[in-house]
C-alpha cells in the first residue's frame, strides 16, 4: 500500500485529484446552497446569489454581494489552477498555497452556514442545502490532503499536529474575541451596531485620568498605586510561603498527616469571596463582631471605617486563600527532584538547612521564576472579590482598597459603558505586557534558561 502511494505521489498527475475536487466545487455553484421560506413556500438560493447579489422574497429583501464569498470562489479557482500547474512549481510552495486557500474557503463557508440566521436575518427559517455541505466537505478534504503533503515534505512536523487542539482552543477562545479591543477606541451607537460605530481615538481612556486636582491625589494614582503595591506583596509572600509550605509538606514523615495538611490548606480555595466577606464581617462588625465583643466598649474599633488595618487584612486573606495552590505547585516540583542528590549531600555531612539551600532551592528556581514572571504579567489586575466584597464596599476604605478593577466596576455600575471597560482592560494589558517584557529581558541577561520567552 505504501509503495503504491509513494509512486502515485511522485507521479505526474499528483495533484489531479485536487483539481477534480476543485472543479466539483465549482459545479456546486449550480446546486442550492441555502434555502428560505417565503409565503409558505421554500425557495433555494445559490452561492452565486451571494457573489453577485440578488433580490429575493418577492423583491422585499436584497441580498448584497458579499466580499468573502467572492474571495472564496476565486480561491477555489486558484486551487484548481495551482493543482494543475503543480509540476511546474516547487511542490512545497504549491502545497502551502493550496492549504492556505482551502482553509480560507472552508472557514468562510462554515461561518456562513453557522451564522446563516444572523446574516440573513430578514429571511425566515433559513436551512442549509446540500450544495453548501458538499463545498464544506470537499474543501476539508483538500485541506487535509495538502497538509498531509506538507507533512510528507517535512515542512510540517508531527509535533505541529500535537499543538493543534490546544492552539485551536486558544484561537477560538482568546484570539478571535481579541478584536473586541477595538471597542476601546469607538463610541458605541447601538442604532448602527458595534461594527459601524464611530472611532474616537483615546477618548475612552480619559476615565482613568480625571482632569481636576493634582495627579498624586487623583484616583488614577491611588488605584494604580494600590494595585501595584498589593500585587507586589502578594507575589512576594505567596512565593516565600508557598516554598516554605511546599518543603514542609514534602518532608513530612507521616503520610497521614501529609494528606490532612494538604487537604486543609487547599480548603480556603473552595470558599467564594462573598462568603469570605461574611466571615470577615463576623470578625469585624460593630454590633456583634467577634473582635469588638472582646474589647471594652470605649476601645471598640470601627474596622470598616478605619483604613489602616486593611492592607494587612487583605494581604492575610489573599495569602490564606492562595497558599494551597502555591504550595502544591512547589510540592510537585520538589517531588520530582532526584533523591540521590540528597543522599549524596547527607553522605557529605550536609544538614537540613544546607540541603535545602543548596539542592531544593536551586532546583526550584525555574518554577519560582516562571510563577513570578507570570504573576508580574498580571500585575495590573486584581481579584475583584477580594477588594470589593471583603471590605463590604465601604466608602471610608476606598483609599486603601480601590484598585483598577474595582474603580472600573464602580464607574460602570452607573454607565454600563462597554467602551470604557474595554479601554481600561486594554490599559491594564498593555502596561502589564510592557512590564513583563522588560522583566523578561532582564532575566534573560542573567539567567537565559529561565526567561519566559
Amino acid at each position: 500500500m505504501k509503495i503504491k502511494l509513494d509512486a502515485y505521489l511522485k507521479s505526474k498527475f499528483r495533484m489531479m485529484h485536487i483539481a477534480i475536487l476543485a472543479f466539483i466545487i465549482i459545479l456546486c455553484s449550480f446546486f442550492p446552497y441555502l434555502s428560505y421560506v417565503h409565503n409558505k413556500k421554500r425557495y433555494g438560493m445559490l452561492i452565486l446569489n451571494f457573489i453577485f447579489g440578488k433580490n429575493v422574497a418577492g423583491g422585499s429583501v436584497f441580498i448584497e454581494s458579499n466580499m468573502f464569498m467572492q474571495m472564496s470562489f476565486l480561491l477555489i479557482l486558484a486551487i484548481a489552477i495551482v493543482a494543475l500547474l503543480y509540476n511546474k512549481m516547487r511542490s512545497v510552495l504549491a502545497d502551502k498555497l493550496i492549504a492556505f486557500f482551502a482553509f480560507f474557503v472552508l472557514v468562510t463557508n462554515l461561518v456562513y452556514i453557522l451564522r446563516r440566521n444572523s446574516i440573513l436575518n430578514e429571511l425566515k427559517q433559513v436551512k442549509v442545502e446540500y450544495g453548501a455541505v458538499i463545498i464544506v466537505l470537499l474543501s476539508m478534504v483538500i485541506l487535509i490532503q495538502s497538509l498531509y503533503n506538507l507533512w510528507k515534505e517535512k515542512v510540517l512536523f508531527t509535533l505541529d499536529f500535537l499543538i493543534v487542539p490546544g492552539m485551536l482552543y486558544f484561537i477560538i477562545n482568546n484570539y478571535i474575541p481579541m478584536v473586541g479591543i477595538l471597542i476601546a477606541f469607538k463610541k458605541i451607537d447601538y442604532r448602527v451596531g458595534i461594527i459601524d460605530s464611530p472611532w474616537v481615538g483615546f477618548e475612552n481612556f480619559k476615565v482613568l485620568f480625571p482632569q481636576t486636582g493634582s495627579f498624586f491625589q487623583s484616583d488614577a494614582f491611588i488605584i494604580t498605586r494600590n494595585t501595584l503595591l498589593y500585587n507586589l506583596a502578594f507575589i512576594t509572600l505567596s512565593t516565600i510561603m508557598g516554598v516554605i509550605v511546599g518543603i514542609c509538606l514534602a518532608d513530612l514523615f507521616s503520610s497521614k498527616w501529609k494528606k490532612f495538611f494538604q487537604t486543609s490548606i487547599l480548603l480556603p480555595q473552595l470558599i467564594s469571596m462573598v462568603i469570605v466577606a461574611y466571615i470577615g464581617y463576623a470578625f469585624f462588625s460593630n454590633e456583634a463582631g467577634l473582635i469588638n465583643s472582646m474589647l471594652e466598649p470605649e476601645n471598640a474599633i470601627n474596622f470598616y471605617a478605619s483604613p489602616k488595618y486593611w492592607p494587612f487584612i487583605l494581604v492575610f486573606v489573599f495569602v490564606w486563600k492562595q497558599i494551597g495552590y502555591s504550595a502544591i505547585i512547589f510540592l510537585s516540583s520538589i517531588v520530582g527532584i532526584d533523591h540521590s542528590l540528597y543522599e549524596a549531600a547527607k553522605v557529605d555531612g550536609a544538614n537540613k538547612i544546607q540541603q535545602i539551600s543548596y539542592i531544593t532551592l536551586p532546583m526550584l528556581k525555574p518554577t519560582i521564576m516562571t510563577l513570578v514572571l507570570l504573576q508580574v504579567g498580571r500585575i495590573f489586575y486584581s481579584d475583584f472579590g477580594l477588594f470589593y466584597q471583603v471590605p463590604m464596599n465601604s466608602g471610608a476604605l476606598y483609599n486603601v482598597t480601590n484598585t483598577i478593577d474595582t474603580f472600573v466596576y464602580r464607574a460602570l455600575m452607573v454607565s454600563n459603558n462597554i467602551s470604557t471597560a474595554s479601554a481600561v482592560s486594554t490599559y491594564q494589558a498593555v502596561v502589564g505586557f510592557a512590564i513583563v517584557f522588560t522583566v523578561n529581558m532582564l532575566v534573560k541577561k542573567f539567567d537565559r534558561e529561565n526567561a519566559l520567552f
Binding site: L114, R115, T158, L159, D160, L162, I163, P165, G166, M167, Y169, N173, N174, Y175, P177, V179, G180, I183, V245, C248, A250, D251, L252, F253, F260, T263, S264, P268, L270, I271, S272, V274, I275, V276, E287, A288, G289, L290, W320, G324, I328, I329, S332, S333, I334, V335, G336, S340, K352, P366, T367, T370, L374, G377, S422, S425, A429, G432, F433, F453
Partner: protein, 302 residues
Amino acid sequence: MSDSGIKSKSDKIYQIVIFSILVVLAICALFPFLLLVSSSVTEESVLLSKGYSFFPRKISFYAYEYLFKSNATKVLRSYGVTFFITIVGTSISLLIAPMLAWPLARKDYKRAKLVTFLVFFTMLFNGGIVPSYIMWTQLFGLKNTIWALIFPTLIMNGFYVILYKNNFAHNIHPALVEAAKIDGAGEWYIYFKIVLPLSLPIIATIGLMVGLAYWNDWVNGLYYISDTKLYSLQQLLKSIIDNISALASMGSSVDTSSVTNKMPGSGIRMAMAVIGIIPIMVLYPFFQKAFVKGIALGGVKE
C-alpha cells in the same frame, strides 16, 4: 525526601519544626470553616442580632430545610450540572493542554519560542466579555446549553500550559526522547507512553486546579444561562443571595409579601456555601491517593 526515615536527633527537630508550621497553617485555614458550619445551623434572628460565632447559639436547621425540602430538585440538579461540567471539562483540559505544552518543552522544536509567546500573550490581552459572548452565542449557539458552562474560558489557560511546559522541560530528559526515537518510537508514542506517565504529579496538580475552577465557576452561568435547569451549584447560590438582596431592597418600600414569604433568611448563604464545599471535602481524600501514587511513580529518574 522522606524515605530515608527519621534517624538522628536533628531529623527529629526538623520534623517537629515543620509539623508546627503546618499545624499553625491548618488552624488558620480551618477555623473559618467552623464559623461557616456553625452559622449555617444557627437560627436566623440570632445570627443577625448576635452575630456569627464558633458554636451555634441557637441551633436551627431552617436553612437546610429550605434547601432540601422545598428546593430539593433545584439543589440536586445543580449538583448534577456541576459534577458533569467538572468531570467533562477537566477531562478535556487534561487531554489537550499537556499535548500543547509538550512540543514547547522540546529544544528541537523549531516553533517553540513563537508558540510559547502566543500562549503567554493570551494571558495578558483579552477583548472583553462582549465579543466572546457574541462569538459563543451566535457562532456556536451555546446559549442556554450545558456546553456554555464547559467551553468558554475554563478549558485551558496560558498559566497552566506554561507550568506544564516548565515541568516537562525539567523532568523529561532529552536523552530519554533520543533513546526512544532510536528505538523507532513516533512522536505520539513518545507523548502518550513516556511523557504522560512520567508527569503524573504535575498533571494531577493542574487537574486539581482546573477541577476546582469548574466547581467554583459562576461567571459562565451568569452570562450564558437563564434556564434554571442548567444552573450550576455556584450560580444557584449566587442567584439565591442576589434575590434575597433585591427583594430586601424593594421590600421595605413596596409590597413584596406575596413573594417574600417564600424567601429564606440570611443563614441560607452559609448553608449553601457549606453544601458547595462538602462534596469536595468528601472526594478529595480519594483524589489524594492518586496524587500520592503518581508522585511515587514519577519520582524514578534516569
